[in-house]
């Protein structure tokens, strides 16, 4: 018996278990487009043989912000990537709906053309391209969002550095560029993955300010953040994931108030 063999057997079992447990979610699957603005149902996703997302499902009304919380390895990033239809993890079962459109059969670029924008955790600024080229890249496919002028107005730092190679930006600037890049597209669902990660406290404040500005725009958003308090400050709703499954669903305020819950699942 090799190592990976054991792993894959375990994954198979967990997969079957999850299918039974999520009977309720399963019931929704295949019932067609939901009424809500955004919904995902019974997502099961794998990295190779590793079973990462185990039956996650939730809904978000238009314009609301959802904080997706959980410990390290709870499957938060994977859930976001699954919704954005990134190449991995592989979605083996489940549905993703945005404004009545089925996203789950799509590829990454098709989902992006439907208005889903992922701001990934390591920003994924493209080196070798200038700041402006990074923004230009976001405006190649329809539907486009903000014009350059508006972006530069909102992010004067980026304007200063527009001709600079993007990989020479500081971490905070890269995060700004990543958010700006998303806004350069016509975003219907913004997926923010760890926007504060690895940033100095001063910069965190700046990004916080930017995000609260974004909040005013009324863009439906899912935010994943280690720093749960910061995320909950922005969010309307909250979901807690543990081991690939949803263990709590409620308003952001409830989580902030419920110390036990925070203690058990978020270690804060």
């Amino acid at each position: 018996m090799s190592e990976s063999e054991t792993a894959s057997a375990a994954a198979d079992k967990a997969y079957r278990d999850a299918q039974e447990h999520s009977a309720e979610l399963k019931a929704q699957v295949g019932t067609g487009a939901p009424d809500s603005y955004f919904a995902c149902r019974n997502l099961h996703a794998f990295y190779g043989e590793s079973y990462i997302v185990q039956g996650v499902g939730f809904e978000i009304p238009e314009g609301k912000i959802l904080a997706l919380l959980g410990r390290n390895g709870a499957g938060k990033t994977s859930t976001l990537r699954t919704i954005a239809r990134a190449g991995s993890p592989e979605l083996r079962q489940g549905e993703v709906w945005l404004q009545g459109t089925a996203i789950h059969p799509m590829k990454d670029f098709e989902a992006a053309q439907q208005g889903i924008q992922l701001v990934p955790e390591d920003r994924r600024i493209i080196g070798g391209l200038t700041v402006e080229e990074n923004l230009e890249l976001a405006q190649i496919a329809e539907p486009r969002g903000w014009e350059f002028e508006r972006i530069y107005q909102a992010f004067p730092r980026l304007k200063e550095r527009r001709t600079q190679d993007a990989s020479t930006l500081s971490g905070g600037e890269q995060q700004m560029l990543a958010i700006a890049r998303a806004l350069a597209r016509d975003v219907k669902l913004l997926l923010l993955d760890e926007p504060y990660e690895g940033l100095a406290p001063v910069i965190v404040q700046e990004i916080e300010r930017i995000l609260s500005d974004v909040r005013q725009l009324g863009i439906t958003t899912i935010i994943v953040e280690q720093n749960a308090v910061a995320a909950l400050k922005l969010a309307d709703l909250s979901i807690i994931l543990d081991q690939g499954e949803v263990v709590y669903e409620g308003s952001a305020k409830d989580v902030l108030d419920n110390e036990d819950l925070r203690h058990e699942y978020l270690a804060i």
Binding site: S2, S4, G30, L91, R92, G94
Partner: protein
């Protein structure tokens, strides 16, 4: 590809059975090779020798995923070393084989030590570069040792010190022997066959050993092993040397069955050939590489030998215009066109059977089992697939 080994939960009992069947199939080769026109000593020897080569290569590639493109160099030096033993000391095959493996091991340590500083395609190019250098030098500058293009051959004037000591020698050039038993024709084949069975057994033991499992783990996640403080290099180097010795063994057996060593055994296409054999048969599987070796050597020796007049005989029962057409079409794929067949075969196998021929066998096996299982409904095939 490692997952193919999972089809076969291994138990000592099962391994014994595998060994038994393998040995039986190898030893009965002259019988089953007859209907396919492959029953003549030279080709059977080649099956065994290249089987050893591929099995050894698979230890490296199948277990660790390191793609060496220079294994032919070890085969080449194994051959030269063995022929030099024949020339200088004795015609006894045991000494030649041992020395061939030893020299190959020394080469493998040297090349492996350097090349394993890099991984992935960089490792492949490093091994390729070393092998090409060996080939180029053997062909030209090192001719005094290798006899260049003509190849190193035996000579009536060779000293053969040990044999001379025991009063051997005599007229003409002697044949390699095993303590008096002349190793020519079928005797040589059976000698190679026994060595092949031993080589297979060693490979099986390595696959099942903790060492083998560790190598598999290296393959599945090199970086994680590094982070956990594992220094993987000694393990990979060890298996690199073992697999180099397999190549040296194969090379020296080539010299035993045919006392000649040529530089072209080291050229990059020869290295490529063993890679192809391994992948074609099924890398990471026990028997696959052997199958790949047999298939390629069979194609090389049999397809290439078919000519128009034989095709005409084959299709002779048809009306003449049809015969001509059939011969015309078929001749594209045999004789001078046998490379075309080989290329198409590579493509077909890798397109339809990503795991090589072994996957094909497993699929057939699986289909039979399913048919036996009869009406029992497939369990959870109702999982809805997202479109990807």
């Amino acid at each position: 590809m490692a997952s193919i080994t999972h089809f076969n939960p291994s138990t000592p009992k099962r391994d014994l059975a595998v060994m038994g069947i393998f040995a039986l199939v190898v030893l009965t080769a002259p019988i089953w090779a007859t209907p396919i026109g492959a029953n003549y000593p030279d080709l059977l020897q080649r099956f065994a020798i290249f089987g050893i080569f591929a099995i050894g290569y698979n230890l490296l590639f199948g277990l660790t995923g390191y793609l060496s493109f220079g294994h032919a160099a070890f085969l080449g030096v194994g051959s030269y070393a063995a022929v030099w033993i024949f020339k200088l000391l004795t015609m006894n095959a045991i000494l030649a084989v041992a020395f061939g493996m030893l020299v190959a091991a020394v080469f493998a340590v040297a090349i492996g030590y350097v090349a394993l500083r890099r991984a992935g395609i960089y490792f492949a190019i490093l091994t390729l570069a070393f092998a090409q250098m060996s080939y180029r030098l053997a062909y030209s500058v090192l001719t005094p040792i290798t006899n260049g293009e003509t190849g190193l051959t035996l000579d009536g004037n060779d000293p053969r010190v040990i044999d001379a000591l025991f009063g051997g020698g005599g007229e003409g050039i002697p044949n390699p022997s095993l303590f008096g038993l002349e190793l020519t024709g079928y005797a040589a084949f059976y000698f190679c066959a026994v060595v092949l069975i031993l080589a297979f057994w060693v490979s099986l033991k390595i696959f099942r050993s903790p060492f083998g499992l560790k190598l598999l783990a290296i393959k599945s996640n090199q970086t994680r092993m590094r982070f956990t403080g594992y220094n993987t290099r000694p393990y990979v180097l060890t298996v690199f040397v073992i697999s180099g010795m397999y190549a040296g063994l194969a090379g020296s057996l080539m010299a035993v069955t045919d006392p000649l060593a040529g530089a072209e055994r080291m050229v990059w296409t020869a290295s490529g050939e063993v890679v192809l054999m391994t992948i074609l048969g099924g890398a990471g599987t026990l028997v696959g590489p052997m199958l790949g070796a047999v298939l390629i050597k069979y194609a090389e020796n049999i397809f290439s030998a078919v000519n128009d007049s034989q095709l005409a005989d084959l299709f002779g029962f048809l009306p003449e215009p049809v015969t001509d057409l059939m011969v015309g079409v078929a001749s594209l794929f045999v004789g001078e066109g046998w490379h075309l067949t080989l290329g198409l075969l590579f493509m077909a196998i890798v397109i339809f059977l990503p795991g090589g021929m072994m996957e094909g066998l497993y699929r057939i096996g699986g289909a039979i089992r399913r048919r036996r299982a009869g009406g029992r409904a497939a369990d959870n095939s109702a999982v809805t697939q997202p479109s990807e």
